[in-house]
Amino acid sequence: MADSVIVTKDLTRVFGDFTAVDAITMDIKKGEIFGFLGANGAGKTTAMKMLTGLLTPSSGEASVSGYDVFTESEKIKKRIGYMSQKFSLYDDLTPMENIQFYGGVYGLYGKELKQKSEELIRSLGLQDKRSSLVGSLPLGWKQKLAFAISIIHDPGIVFLDEPTGGVDPITRRQFWERIYEASDRGITVFVTTHYMDEAEYCDRVSIMVDGRIEAMDSPEGLKASFNTSTIEDVFIQLARKAERGDE
């Protein structure tokens, strides 16, 4: 357990008489790329909100970066990055202004912030776009920029909520290369996705059905134990059992 960064035990969230997340248990290691799969309404978003400190769990235990989600959510917030499905940049600010703003929000300032922003602009190849507004950039670039911003403060963990919606496979592939880079730097990546080819890129995958984690293993392990050739087939087998519809 030495380098576990996300640990949950029977983590549960109840809304009224509806159990959105039902006793999930997981143990995610440092630097791991963890795919968090599930149909719409399976409880992925709720689980993610609990781990990021947006939602208080009803019962169970969970720690992120070694801090308890019940009592130390403020400390957790400083050590995680987050990127949501609605890309989180301001369309009416330039890439540079977005970087500076979010960098500032995460406590970077002065020389460090300036240096990191320049670095980021360069590595994304946005030099000649620095004074155009983010709204005018292609979606794929926005997503890459949003991801880069979400890890600008070198968090231990980054949560990505369907980060690659709406772009073509090549752009998605490029996005995943950035995820690998982050993982190589020791950042743990917790990612939800609807694209099953992306699930294959993960170190480990969990599949949620009706609030419970029905399967969790490496993509190869899952395919072997369900005797299928793709993760998609595993997913379909499990998701078919779901009784809930969309949330």
Partner: protein, 369 residues
């Protein structure tokens, strides 16, 4: 604190880049002031009237001359018989007909009393009312003159009227304080509620909530720019009303700005409250317009006096912050009143402000859970 400054800077940049917001922020106050100042007036000028003089003596001629001389009236027709009265009204050009009974001057001289009939076109009741009271004033004025000239001392009634604080009955004097209330409500509540819900709609709010920023940082960062801009707006309106409309400012400027800030804070907390209830910009806008702007326009005493509303509406008007702010601003600007006279209204405003601050903070926190 550094991240907070960054937040405020970002907010100013966004406002500055959004032409629509800029128009509402700076165009609206000027346009509204000019509209209300020039177009919407309660005082009447050049209303067409007609006279049916069945007496045609010296006294009636004198009164008619006075009516003619008034800026309010344009004497456009002399009628010969009653039959013409209705016809003229139907044609629609005439707002009022003044009818003198036969033998008017004689009766007034001998009996000290004579009848004038004032018929108005009440399809526009407001105008009819005003025209009627103007005519009444001119008649009374004439009667008073006759008395003063020693005509046996008992002619008619002697009424002295005086319009305190706004002797020329300039509507713009009345509208400017109300306009300040409306514009502050618009800028503070509407704009903040829209700008906070926009963050929600675009998904930025989620990121901000996951970030180490504290919720009150987010609220303050959102609210502070609009507070500054609202104060700028107040100054604009004051300057414009002073130099274009010659609206007097008799009170204390410091007190005025303190009270304005209090009202702005109330409006801002209302805006935050609305944004925590509404999930998208449209809803926020509708709620702000219907729930805040309309009551501010209609129930605050801005256009319609509170005292002439039916009782239930009078009761409701008490919870409208603009009503109290209006009393305060009119007091300061037109009467030169100080805090000793306005402490009650100020206190009520403070209570309302605190109530909504607590309410909106609570509501905002609930949304995080």
């Amino acid at each position: 604190m550094n991240s907070f400054t960054g937040f405020v800077i970002k907010e100013f940049k966004q406002i500055y880049r959004d032409t629509r917001t800029l128009m509402v922020l700076f165009g609206m106050p000027v346009i509204m002031l000019i509209l209300f100042g020039f177009a919407i007036r309660n005082e009447v000028t050049n209303a067409n009237i007609a006279v049916l003089d069945l007496s045609k003596d010296e006294v009636t001629r004198e009164i008619i001359r006075k009516l003619e001389a008034s800026k309010a009236f344009e004497l456009s027709d002399y009628l010969e018989s009653y039959d013409e009265v209705e016809q003229r009204f139907r044609e629609g050009n005439i707002k009022e007909v003044v009818v003198f009974e036969p033998d008017f001057g004689n009766k007034l001289g001998k009996e000290g009393q004579a009848d004038v009939q004032v018929i108005t076109d009440a399809t526009d009741p407001n105008l009819a009312n005003i025209v009627q009271s103007y005519t009444g004033a001119i008649l009374l004025d004439h009667v008073r003159e006759m008395n003063a000239n020693g005509m046996d001392g008992k002619v008619g009634i002697n009424v002295l009227t005086k319009m305190q604080y706004n002797p020329e009955l300039k509507s713009v004097n009345l509208f400017v304080p109300g306009l300040i209330a409306v514009i502050l409500m618009l800028v503070s509540a509407l704009m903040t509620s829209i700008s906070i819900t926009r963050e929600k709609e675009m998904g930025n709010m989620e990121i901000l909530l996951v970030s180490p920023l504290k919720p009150y940082h987010i609220i303050l960062g959102k609210v502070l720019p609009y507070l500054v801009l609202s104060v700028v707006n107040v100054i604009t309106i004051l300057v414009l009303s002073k130099f274009i409309f010659q609206v007097p400012f008799r009170g204390n400027l410091v007190l005025f700005f303190a009270e304005s800030t209090l009202f702005i804070v109330t409006a801002l907390s209302l805006g935050v409250f609305i944004s925590s209830v509404a999930n998208n910009q449209q809803t926020a806008m509708m709620v702000s317009l219907a729930g805040l702007l309309l009551p501010t326009l209609l129930l605050s005493g801005f256009i319609f006096p509170v005292s002439s509303m039916p009782l239930p509406l009078q009761v409701i008007s008490n919870i409208i912050p603009a009503k109290w702010f209006l009393i305060i601003v009119r007091g300061i600007m037109l009467k030169g009143a100080g805090i000793t006279l306005l402490w009650k209204e100020t206190l009520i405003l403070v209570v309302i402000a605190l109530l909504f601050i607590v309410l909106s903070l609570k509501k905002f926190k609930v949304r995080l859970q």
